[in-house]
Amino acid sequence: MDAVYLFFVLILSIFLGLELIRKVPSTLHTPLMSGSNAISGITLVGALTSAGSADSRVTIVLGTLAVAFATINVVGGYLVTDRMLGMFKKKKESDS
């Protein structure tokens, strides 16, 4: 039952994702990709749980690495997306 319930969530999310992303214009495909990539850094939540309760040396190293990689993904992903989106302007402005 547990697995079925998780699949239920998965299938609904896929449909939701398809609907949402279909509406994104091609102009924004690069920011969309790097933004959605930052979201995939949600695996950080999993990394935090596993790094936290680690007990052996191997798990501590692997867990810390997982946290570090996921954090790069999250922090870097959101910042770079913001940087890109900041450039999309409707009216031309004078170069600063």
Partner: protein
């Protein structure tokens, strides 16, 4: 406590969904990204409050290290290097999911088969995503050749690796069958999936990179999704599925834009030596070179101009001077538009980002279907470092490998300027009849220098 955490996770999911929804317009996209980031922040904070987590010092080390690298990378990267940056981030997402699954396995190696299956999947997808993305990164950054790397029996080897991974997966569930321990099996899976990632991406050529990047983007989401199944966390499943769906849609768009199927992109090694790289019919003919002065005279008289950028513009870092030219043309009374093919550049929407960086307003960036009907009324089409996306062979030469691919009909404009370094073919490795047409003028040289010369003429007058 579990109730509280899950409630916050619902809020986070909503924030991600709203964030993606706001991405559908350039005016609100930045707010959407911020909303999504707030969701991520909330998710991390509430997870840290979970009292299962004990050793904060390691988490702190990981987060500080990751954040430092992330901030530096995001700040320092040049806009032209964005494709390899995104590729690298895709890979990091993949390996993070792999590591999460691996650690989880060390903690409880004998859990139920459902968890074991999803753990294995997370390692499998995460591994392919990581090394595949690193190869893509290397190719985009010019550290590895952008040409397809093919060898005899490659697909056989790949199938063998895949088969081995599947067998190990079954043994992973029933380790007594062959007497190999689970911890060695998962190690083999890490290694083999890593090798498979390299093998799958190395035969893909530069022109197909937008498809690969989109696909890897999707994989990084699926890896997170599988990790979510393993730790039974709905937030990971929802977010992973959103990312997976996003990557699949972009992959589909890119494939359509090239009139090719995904299997074709993944397995054919398009443009590799030995393919149909023979000169096409209509390749013979006279080319008409032009210098910047003549180009200026024609542009000065033009009342409508369409600029068609490609990867060559990115390489030459010409986007700023291109915008300068567009401004001058507009001051001269011409209507200027940018026509952007979906697969121009090295990732979906690559050209849009570069032009946005150069302050080109986004309502001037037109999509292919939008601009093609008006091409016949255009005085000058300026093709900057784009080859295959304007190749009329796609429309006219039935035996051309790109036949049927939707293109921007630059050849229908009254005059076409093609800015190119040489007569070499584009990444698809096929000849372009456009260069020999009556109305085409070739402006040889570095795109940036050529446009600068034209801009200088405008300023002198």
């Amino acid at each position: 406590m579990i109730f509280l955490i899950n409630s916050v996770y619902i809020v986070c999911s909503v924030l991600f969904i709203m964030g993606l929804k706001l991405m559908s317009s350039p005016a609100t996209a930045r707010r959407g990204n911020l909303l999504s980031a707030v969701g991520m922040f909330l998710a991390v904070i509430i997870t840290l409050l979970d009292r299962n987590i004990l050793s904060y010092q390691w988490i702190l080390i990981g987060i500080v290290l990751g954040a430092l690298i992330g901030v530096l990378a995001a700040r320092l990267v040049a806009m032209t290097d964005m494709p390899q940056m995104v590729a690298a981030f895709n890979g990091f997402g993949g390996i993070a999911s792999l590591l999460v699954a691996w650690v989880l396995f060390f903690k409880s190696p004998n859990t139920e088969s459902f968890t074991l299956t999803t753990l294995y999947l997370s390692v499998f997808i995460g591994g392919i995503t990581f090394t595949g993305s690193m190869v893509a990164f290397g190719k985009l950054d010019g550290k590895i050749t952008t040409k397809p790397v093919l060898f005899r029996g490659q697909q056989f080897v790949n199938s063998l690796i895949l088969l081995a991974l599947l067998c190990f997966g079954v043994l992973f569930l029933f380790p007594d069958l062959a007497g190999i321990s689970r911890s060695s099996l998962i190690l083999y899976a890490v290694i083999l999936s890593g090798i498979l990632g390299v093998m799958v991406v190395i035969p893909i050529g530069g022109a197909d990179m937008p498809v690969v990047i989109s696909l890897l983007n999707s994989y990084s989401g699926l890896a997170a999704c599988a990790a979510g199944f393993a730790i039974r966390n709905n937030l990971l499943i929802v977010s992973g599925a959103l990312v997976g769906a996003s990557g699949i849609i972009l992959t589909n768009i890119m494939c359509k834009a090239m009139n090719r199927s995904l299997t074709n992109v993944l397995f054919s090694g398009f443009g590799s030596a030995g393919g149909s790289v023979v000169a096409e019919e209509g390749d013979e003919g006279e080319i008409r070179p032009i210098n910047s002065e003549d180009a200026y005279l024609i542009l000065e008289a033009a009342s409508s101009v369409v600029i068609i950028p490609g990867y060559g513009m990115a390489v030459a870092q010409a986007q700023h001077v291109v915008r300068e030219l567009a401004d001058l043309l507009e001051q001269n009374g011409a209507e200027v538009n940018f026509a952007i093919h979906p697969v121009a550049g090295r990732m979906p929407g690559h050209m849009n980002v570069l032009l946005a960086e150069a302050n080109v307003s986004y309502d001037k960036m037109r999509e292919m279907d939008d601009i093609n009907p008006m091409m016949e009324t255009v005085d000058v089409a300026i093709v900057i470092g784009a080859n295959d996306v304007v190749n009329p062979a796609a429309r006219e030469v039935e035996n051309s490998p790109i036949y049927g691919m939707p293109i921007i009909s630059a050849d229908k404009a009254r005059t076409v300027f093609v800015l190119k370094r040489s007569m070499r073919t584009g990444f698809a490795g096929i000849g372009n009849p456009l260069f020999f047409k009556e109305n085409t003028r070739m402006l040889f040289g570095d795109a940036k220098a050529s446009i600068q010369a034209v801009v200088a003429q405008f300023k002198e007058s």
